[in-house]
Symmetry: C2
Subunit: 168 residues, 2 copies
Amino acid sequence: MDVLATLADGVLTVRRARAEDLPALVALIAEDPVSAGRGDAVGDGVGDLAPYAAALAEIDADPAHLLVCLDEADGTTVGTLQLSVLPNLGRRGARRAQLEAVHVSGDRRGHGYGAALVGWAVEEARRRGCGLVQLTSDASRTGAHRFYERLGFVASHHGFKRDLASRR
Amino acid sequence: MDVLATLADGVLTVRRARAEDLPALVALIAEDPVSAGRGDAVGDGVGDLAPYAAALAEIDADPAHLLVCLDEADGTTVGTLQLSVLPNLGRRGARRAQLEAVHVSGDRRGHGYGAALVGWAVEEARRRGCGLVQLTSDASRTGAHRFYERLGFVASHHGFKRDLASRR
């Protein structure tokens, strides 16, 4: 089952995601209004999974990357994130951890699930020898920004993106 | 020599960085006031290179990462950046390229070197099948923000960092 941690007195489990988790994970992305507005996921969460399966295969092929599911005791997946450990010449060559695609199911908000999941990721980053954890959050996610600041993150940077799909 | 591209009518060369480039690369980081203020590099650029050498070895060990030097015709290194290609479940599983540690020598500003270097990285990202290029820039770097916007980047996100070196 590839369990990585139990959190919140055993109520929650963090485990490595597998291909059979993709429908649940894509549904988690699709229910998020910012991601959905950007076309990050098919609307019903059960469309063509092939591009997601290809991404998961690449994640699994490199030990620097880890995609996890956050499960409740009955096995319901209620959260996910990707942790990537990246070498870097900056900050005196400190390895850095990057969090991507952090999602918690909307109907589980306010239970501390997100804090438990991100808190686990920060400790995992420390175990992997990282000197820094970084992530970007869409400028419209003001609630998420307060959440990350409570967890000790500082919004010290601007996050720039350039879409290559739409040619300019 | 591992040449990746010639730019600006042959005036500039992009090539893979080697261990013997580290003194020049650390000096480029050290001359940058924001990086220096953060303690990213030793002040004189010739201090203990061991942590940088370890980072470069990790970069070279994974084909997802590429650290480059931008050289003038006489071989003087005047710029650098790191390109990392990262799998991701978001944005319909699109591979994304991340730029880190983008530096151009202060006395070469205004020559279009930065635009040539970042423009090369964007095209390299496209060749590697990426749907997105992303980077973060310290909030104080207002000149850099205009530079990236001119190159088609959008400051759509907030960049959060949490330092693990200083325990909290």
